[in-house]
Symmetry: C2
Subunit: 415 residues, 2 copies
């Protein structure tokens, strides 16, 4: 048998029927009108924001990275609780515009921005994190055409990377940002153009569970920002220190000690270079804020034995949850936290592989895990599914219905 | 530098601007109204069908597996050229119903069929490839409710597997089909119920480039079908021998020798057991029929250097083409066949990594490949993209626009 990832604290000790935000899965399925569905518990999201605020220096800004979960209700919730929103496309920008976001605290990063996306960002007064000199030239040209003063920051490709991160975004040759040694010249050009130079975006990695490594990369980012500001001769208004806060997905993953990050970041900010004295620092988080708040729920359609191995076949699978199937950047396929949601806390008595309805051996939600006896009609829950879930999955694959999404907050369901 | 996969024969010797079905990419982009787009050349598809017919025994039926490419025009094309269509979901069944397919030659497989899907298949008189005893019980119950005689075949999980296949679908414990030793009892039940027992579906693997391995699994399937028929005491009307015909994707992949398969299959059919004398045999293919007919085309948005490495950033990426990014069942990330589509046959003078617009290091279309000098505005083509392309990709990821799809046939473009 193979281990599963840790069930998030909010659900770990439940018995009987799984409740999400106090509402049982059967009631949630009825509200969703179907299985499979994703449910996002906004109280968990709110608690994460509160945990962040308590652990981090008081003047630090928290942004929500919309790419982690672009559901409109989720985005609106974080719009109210955080200090700003970070975009990864013009499509996301449209979404937050519709939600009524304050564009003074909206930024837009991404290595391949199309002209219409730059035009949208400039016309809305969002901050563009420039990824190259040629993108800067395009943005300035578009701004001139629009008669606007664009808000431009520079995404820096730092020489260092976030150690132990699931995905490294800095250190060495990268498609993201501008190599640090070329940044001062680019900023000089931005300032000379009359654009509103906002500062730096320094994003060195994501999905790290190592507090010291994150703190170290934050210190390195602060030092780099000061060095660049000295070279430019002008302080940045803002420095986005990136994110990188991970959540546990698989066995042996331990939760991130954010208090430990907060202590070290406070110390680093207290002793920062004078040129950064008035700079507003930002941490942008997606996965850490919403990942554990989401649960993917499917229903068992078949219970079958092949060559003495038990398969529980569900109506959900990789077309809704690519990451849980191990096909989204995971090098080794490992089991996410999974449970029979209608039999929480029931003793495991057999081993099962949980698969989806697709005609491909890739469509697995869990392999060889210990489960209580489960029958057709039982629910299966995949936890840690609030970030990079449905929006990062091949929803049209094999023309199955898309999963529903429901949001739970303070005991109430919103579709 | 890393090698790329082989460019399919239809495109391999082109010079200058890539033409698909005789039409240049710039014109195709204009017709599509955007980049990125997928273009499917139906003449290539037709040639594959003709190659199959020429190589295989004359009385063998060819089915198109709609899951490989569910584009309506593609499906209609194969509906006209092949002998039947195979479905993997109720959604696909809806598509071919709309296309006017002859349901006598439509079958439906998939390990997790929902009741509404069974109901749809039975009401349309499509053949259901049953995957378990409990699915059979559900189908019989639904047929009774509908007052219909259901067409039921049994998907067999054989003891052997297709050796060297990209994805093994048989041999050992599998979620697909019914273990071969339990098949006679299940068929006896089907016959006793008064249902129309159609025969067997024996699918032992996919994406194999080894002709002898495919021929061997076909011989094993024939022997198994005969053995099961003897045990049942009644001949199957049809036996679907599965598919498994692969196409070259990465360096060192050589094209499948289908003439070699055809010779061996002819010999095997000529000497088959007498109980299979009147049985109709079927091969179902998806990838081999349409894979090389499809090209994914994106446009270069940025040309940037980081730490002496060149990145060509395009407007297309993993959100449209998950497989090319190496995140769809590929264990080792290897380069697909890729070219600068506006500079075909031009001497390669530098090394580049081709990435997409997404804020993730997973978003790569090719890593460290040799390319001619390419500029912003140039087109990039990813070949071998006609199967499991757009429909198998996370199109909503980061809220970028979806790729367009266009079909080319006999010099004309259909959207």
């Amino acid at each position: 048998m193979k281990p599963i990832g840790p069930i998030p604290p909010a659900f770990a000790d439940q018995k009987g029927e799984l409740a999400i935000g106090g509402i049982g899965v059967a009631d949630l399925a009825e509200a969703a009108g179907q299985t499979p569905f994703y449910a996002y518990d906004l109280e968990i999201a709110s608690r994460q924001v509160a945990r962040f605020r308590a652990a981090m220096p008081g003047d630090l800004h928290l942004h929500f990275a919309v790419k982690a979960n672009p559901h409109p209700t989720v985005v609106k919730h974080f719009m109210q609780l955080t200090d700003g929103l970070d975009m990864a496309s013009g499509g996301e920008l449209e979404r937050v515009r519709e939600a009524g976001a304050d564009m003074a605290h909206v930024s837009f990063a991404g290595p391949g921005k199309r002209d219409p996306e730059l035009e949208l960002a400039i016309s809305l007064d969002a901050t563009i994190n420039l990824e190259s000199e040629s993108e800067c030239a395009r943005a300035l040209k578009i701004a001139e055409k629009l008669g606007k003063t664009p808000r431009l920051a520079v995404r820096v490709n730092p020489d260092f990377e976030l150690k132990g991160s699931g995905m490294s975004m800095g250190g060495g040759a990268k498609p993201f940002g501008v190599d640090q040694e070329r940044v001062p010249a680019l900023v000089a050009e931005i300032i000379a153009s009359g654009a509103d130079w906002r500062g730096f975006h320094i994003y060195s990695g994501s999905q790290s569970l190592d507090a010291d490594a994150i703190a170290e990369s934050q210190r390195a980012s602060l030092a780099l920002a000061a060095e660049l500001a000295q070279a430019i001769g002008e302080p940045p208004k803002t420095v986005n220190l990136g994110g990188g806060f991970g959540i546990p997905y698989t066995a042996n993953d331990a939760p991130l000690d954010i208090e430990r990050i907060g202590e070290q970041l406070s110390a680093a900010l207290d002793t920062r270079d004078a040129i950064l004295g008035d700079t507003q620092f930002i941490i942008e988080l997606g996965r850490w804020l919403i990942g554990e708040a989401g649960v993917y729920v499917a229903r068992i359609l078949d219970r079958k034995v092949s060559k003495d191995q038990l398969f529980l076949v569900t109506d959900g699978g990789m077309h809704h949850h690519l990451a849980a199937s191990g096909n989204f950047g995971m090098v080794m396929k490992r089991n996410y936290p999974v449970a029979i949601a209608s039999r929480m806390g029931t003793e495991a008595i057999e081993s099962a592989t949980i698969v989806g309805p697709l005609c491909t051996p890739l469509d697995k939600l869990a392999t060889d895990i210990a489960v209580p006896h489960a029958e057709i009609g039982d629910f299966v829950a995949v936890f840690a599914s609030g970030a990079y879930g449905l929006s990062a999955s091949p929803v049209n694959f094999l023309s199955h219905p898309i999963a529903a999404e429901i949001v739970v907050n303070e005991g109430k369901i919103t579709i």
